[in-house]
């Protein structure tokens, strides 16, 4: 076995522990360096994954798989982590003397996500999931002096534990019926019976919690709003993508549609998620909370591609998950900058941002337009793939709901744009943005436009990644 293919996971874990130790050894100023070490190691992970994108290997009888699909998601997580860490430079002062632990936990959460993407076994997925989630419990409550942050952390812990229980219950039922936890072997061992259906529904519910699909979404707005904004970003783009990565692998490989039409279940969840997420987002006046609901709605769109379960849909899932990293991180990064500068994320705080900081306003506008699916931004191409997949699979109604809800979403996204360009603000003067965050903003802006103008770049990559299912 070629263990060198595990280098990304090993590197990230080792650096995570190293950072913890260095945080204890270094004095105040030297602690800055741990951020750079984490950042560089994540960039190294990204490069490693991309360089060896098509190298595949099955480890330990199928328990762990390195394939193009896993590599696509690993690249996504590393990229998201890099952007989040760059962006968190604005936020560091609020973390007090706990800076190094922040980086360590970011690394561990990333490792957990990578394990989820690569795991070929239900229990391994669960271990990855817990590693990620436990890291997030801590990160969510990271602003100890801030009540909403602590409250968010506690809520997330309680609800996360419930969802883990549900997920484990589902996995145990599937194990009981098939006698194996290796995903590729399950399909041959199961038949249609009530226990299987119960197991599948419970697994779906467990992951639906992670991706914040309705009705398992209730935690998301509270936690997204309470958590430090960089963490919210990572929850929204990373944790969600990891949930999709595992869900997709389990359902496509282990549960044949002939045994149980889970596709319809997911289609209904997708429809509910799109409708509820968008309608509630419509009424929000706080941008961070609006983005939380919008990210629920976005999960609905992606879920529609998974429900389609065909080439277009699955390609769309991966394509959208990736562009979502850029567009959503961009939007959250601007929200972070406004929060750091004004102490608020209310929509009023965004008033006249177009005059105060044209760059921030431009990034926000482009990213929101992308999330709304307006061409030529990336989101348009992504939604195009997702809804084409849904239509091809016969879910015309789902695609229709998706389009209708995208239309509604334009309204609340543009309210922010309106505030930024037309709103008036007694405060003037440019906002300060730290250089690393500025870099992250540029990357998000350019990638969102580039993917939208030339989607073939990413879509070919996604195509290679999903070739393992075809």
């Amino acid at each position: 076995m070629n263990y060198s293919l595990l280098a990304p996971e090993i590197l990230a874990t080792a650096v995570g522990m190293l950072v913890l130790i260095l945080g204890l050894i270094f004095k105040d100023r030297a602690r800055q360096s741990v951020g750079i070490i984490s950042l560089l190691s994540l960039v190294a992970v990204l490069i490693l994954v991309i360089l060896r994108f098509t190298d595949t290997q099955v480890f330990f009888n199928g328990i762990y798989q390195v394939d193009t699909y896993a590599n696509f998601f690993k690249a996504l997580f590393a990229l998201a982590a890099v952007l989040v860490i760059l962006n968190s430079s604005q936020y560091m002062e609020r973390f007090g003397n706990k800076k190094s632990e922040f980086y360590a936990l970011m690394m561990f959460a990333t490792v957990g996500m990578m394990v989820m993407a690569s795991a070929g076994d239900l229990l391994t997925i669960y271990i990855g999931l817990e590693l990620m989630t436990v890291s997030f419990y801590i990160l969510t409550a990271y602003l100890l002096e801030d009540e909403t942050s602590s409250e968010a952390g506690l809520k997330y812990l309680i609800l996360g534990a419930i969802s883990s229980a549900v997920l484990l219950f589902g996995m145990s039922l599937v194990f009981a019926l098939s006698g194996t936890t290796v995903i590729t072997q399950i399909a041959g061992q199961i038949s249609r019976e009530p226990a299987l259906i119960a197991g599948v529904i419970l697994i779906a519910a467990g992951f639906a919690f992670k991706i914040a699909a309705v009705p398992f979404h209730m935690w998301a707005p509270d936690i997204y709003q309470g958590a430090p904004t960089p963490i919210t970003t990572y929850l929204a783009v990373g944790s969600k993508a990891a949930g999709f990565a595992a869900l997709l692998r389990i359902f496509i490989f282990a549960i044949p549609l002939t045994q149980f039409n889970w596709s319809l279940v997911l289609a209904i969840l997708a429809a509910l998620t799109m409708v509820v997420g968008n309608l509630i987002a419509l009424t929000q006046t706080n941008v961070k909370r609006m983005l939380a609901y919008s990210s629920i709605a976005q999960a609905g769109y992606i879920l529609a591609g998974l429900a389609a379960a065909n080439q277009y849909g699955l390609k769309g899932v991966l394509f959208y998950a990736m562009l979502y990293v850029f567009s959503n991180t961009g939007a959250f990064a601007v929200a972070t900058a406004v929060e750091v500068n004004t102490g608020s994320t209310d929509r009023d705080a965004f008033n006249a941002l177009g005059q105060r900081s044209p760059m921030l306003a431009a990034v926000m506008t482009i990213c929101l337009l992308s999330l709304a699916g307006i061409p030529p931004m990336a989101g348009f191409a992504g939604k195009f793939y997702l809804f084409s997949g849904a239509i091809q699979a016969g879910y015309l109604w789902l695609a229709f709901i998706g389009l209708l809800m995208s239309m509604i979403s334009v309204y609340y996204y543009l309210l922010v744009a309106k505030a930024m360009y037309i709103g008036s603000n007694p405060q003037t003067g440019a906002m300060t943005v730290k250089a690393p965050a500025r870099l992250a903003l540029w990357v998000c802006l350019l990638a969102t436009i580039l993917i939208g103008v030339y989607p073939a770049l990413l879509s070919n990559w996604a195509q290679t990644a999903i070739s393992i299912f075809m």
């Binding site: 609800l159 519910a205 209730m218 509270d222 149980f260 039409n261 309608l279 419509l282 073939a456």
Partner: protein, 624 residues
């Protein structure tokens, strides 16, 4: 050397890059912005020269094509590609030369304008769009750049948007073009639906084997709507004379190398489609010929120096389109090239006059400029001689090719019409010259010659206006025709009597203008009064603008009022109702979020239970 061809994407890319850099960062430093813009087009010129050397060293049918798939889905794929052949090479040269000279000239003309940097940004995007259009290898791509050309012309025509006339002119240009573009887009969609591709070479094969003439006529006429708008043919010509509200160098660019050239270029590029249906060709020839005559007659009586030149452009574009229509694609392109040089020369020289006279544009308020502004005057005269078709200047050769083709292809009426237009052209151009440059009015007293940055481009263009025609003349074995060709092209032998007749007509026109306006042997005020009705008709441009305004006021506005009522009462009501419903649904749903962990868990469990029961019931009752 071949590597240069694969670099040709750089030619349109650099101006776009310059546009982006100026727009985003450099606009605070006008000088750097201008330098960057000029540098980007200068590099484009060098590359264009290198590319032309490769293309014209090769065979006549030389083509180089590369493409990347830009959009791919079942039933539609659009490429972004490059197609380099002799036609492209000629256009690249013309556009980069004229754009470069115009930009250099603008350094002088626009030097104290507060919008100097954005002017150069717009110039860059204009040049970049035009160059992107020229190198496109399919209709999808050409349409993108076609629209970008329209957008940039809007920005430049309305550059002095503080003036109402400039604002209106920009809107008029844009809206008039939209009408043509609508037809053009429909034509493109038809092509995609019928032939399943938008690529030129693939279409050329498909069209050749296509039998349904009715559809072919429809599609080619729809496609022709694009050039009618962009190249300002009757009846969509109304925007071009007004477009001179932009800065004069912009007029030079629009009238010579970009925008109006795009339409003619499109006809040449898609010639295989037009040529496949004789009926469409006849329509093209008649519209072109009519525009040529119609515009020339208006130019006879105008008093504004730029307006005279604008109508002369219309008339010359009519010539080019007519050439296309009689099947002489090469002759049309040849005239496009020579016209680009002498018309940009005329506009820039006119700009030099306007600049010197503090924005005076009425030729009757000028006079005796030749003493104060010798370079401007003599370069203008060279341009006018070329335009009038006096041998051996460039305009003579290209105009002769068109007249020859019209006669040789059996369109005798169009030949006579063309010759008449040649006479009128010479007359109105020298009317302008004798009044403005040699007349005895006192208006030109305070004039002074423009700085070198403006006169050097004039001199370069004057040289080009003299010699550019040689490449297509019988003296050089009609080399231009030899390269710019298409399957089934015909090359009529040079006809000396046509050359002599058209030269004599031009000289007669000049003589008549000299007799009336210089020697005053005939009192033109009396002619004006005697032919009052005709004069008024021509002076008011056949009242076309007024007719359009009347039609719009009565039909479009009437329909609009009806629509407004429907929109306000019916649609708005429905939309507001839905919005209200959506909003209230949102508010209701919002209250499910009460912040209580217990209720969140409750919803989760309820969700699981409902899903589970529903799934079990569905699966087992359907089967049972």
């Amino acid at each position: 050397m071949q590597n240069v061809l694969s670099l040709s994407w750089v030619i349109p890319f650099l101006p776009f890059l310059a546009f982006a850099l100026i727009g985003l960062f450099l606009h605070r430093w006008p000088k750097i912005s201008a330098a960057l813009s000029i540098l980007s087009i200068g590099v484009g010129l060098i590359l264009s020269i290198l590319i032309s050397m490769i293309v014209f060293a090769g065979e006549a049918g030389f083509t180089y094509e590369v493409a990347v798939r830009w959009l791919n889905m079942p039933g539609l794929s659009v490429d972004m590609g490059l197609l380099i052949d002799p036609l492209t090479a000629v256009m690249l040269l013309v556009v980069t030369i004229v754009a470069l000279l115009v930009q250099v000239y603008s350094l002088g003309y626009m030097h104290d304008d507060p919008g100097f940097a954005s002017y150069y940004a717009y110039q860059s995007i204009f040049a970049g769009s035009m160059l992107g259009l020229v190198v496109a290898n399919n209709f999808g791509q050409i349409f993108v750049f076609w629209e970008l050309v329209g957008l940039s012309s809007y920005l430049l025509i309305g550059f002095w948007f503080g003036r109402n006339s400039a604002k209106d002119a920009a809107k008029k240009a844009f809206i008039t073009n939209r009408i043509g573009d609508f037809g053009f887009l429909l034509g493109i969609l038809f092509l995609q639906i019928i032939f399943g591709t938008l690529n030129y070479s693939e279409l050329a094969g498909a069209v050749a084997g296509y039998g349904n003439t009715a559809i072919l006529i429809t599609v080619s006429l729809l496609l022709f709507a694009g050039p009618v708008g962009k190249s300002a043919q009757f009846p969509l010509h109304v925007w071009l004379p007004d477009a001179m509200e932009g800065p004069t160098p912009v007029s030079a660019l629009i009238h010579a190398a970009t925008m109006v050239a795009a339409g003619v270029y499109l006809i040449a590029r898609a010639f295989f489609i037009f040529n496949a249906s004789p009926e469409t060709m006849l329509v093209i020839a008649i519209i072109g010929g009519f525009t040529a005559l119609f515009a020339a007659s208006i130019a006879l009586v105008q008093n504004d120096i730029k307006r005279i030149l604008a109508y002369s452009t219309l008339s010359q574009l009519g010539y080019m389109v007519m050439a296309m229509g009689v099947g002489a694609m090469a002759a049309g392109m040849f005239h496009l090239m020579t016209h680009a040089f002498f018309k940009s020369l005329l506009f820039l020289a006119a700009g030099s006059v306007i600049h010197a006279l503090a924005n005076e544009q009425d030729i009757w308020k000028m006079g005796n400029l030749h003493k104060k502004m010798p370079i401007t005057t003599w370069t203008f005269v060279i341009g006018a001689l070329a335009l009038s078709g006096i041998p051996p200047l460039s305009g003579f050769w290209s105009k002769d090719e068109i007249l020859l083709s019209a006669l040789a292809s059996g369109h005798t009426a169009l030949y006579i019409l063309g010759s008449l237009v040649a006479f009128m052209t010479a007359f109105y151009m020298f009317r302008l010259i004798f009044v403005a440059f040699f007349g005895d009015n006192k208006g030109g007293e305070q004039a002074h010659e423009s700085p070198a940055v403006m006169t050097v481009p004039l001199i370069i263009l004057a040289v080009l206006a003299v010699v550019a025609g040689l490449v297509g003349s019988p003296l050089m074995n009609n080399a231009f025709d030899h390269y710019i060709t298409y399957p089934g092209a015909f090359h009529p032998a040079p006809n000396h009597s046509i050359m002599i007749i058209s030269s004599l007509l031009a000289i007669a026109g000049i003589f008549l203008a000299w007799a009336i306006y210089q020697k005053k042997w005939v009192d033109f005020e009396r002619i004006k009064i005697k032919m009052g009705g005709l004069y008024q008709l021509l002076y008011h441009k056949y009242y076309i603008d007024e007719i359009y305004a009347w039609l719009i006021k009565h039909f479009v506005d009437g329909t609009a009022r009806l629509m407004e009522w429907f929109d306000l009462k019916v649609i708005n009501g429905a939309v507001n109702g839905i919005a209200w419903l959506t909003g209230h649904l949102g508010i209701t749903l919002r209250y499910t979020e009460d912040g209580q962990v217990q209720s969140y868990a409750l919803y989760m469990y309820a969700g699981i239970i409902i899903l589970l029961i529903a799934a079990l019931c569905a699966v087992f009752t359907v089967l049972a």
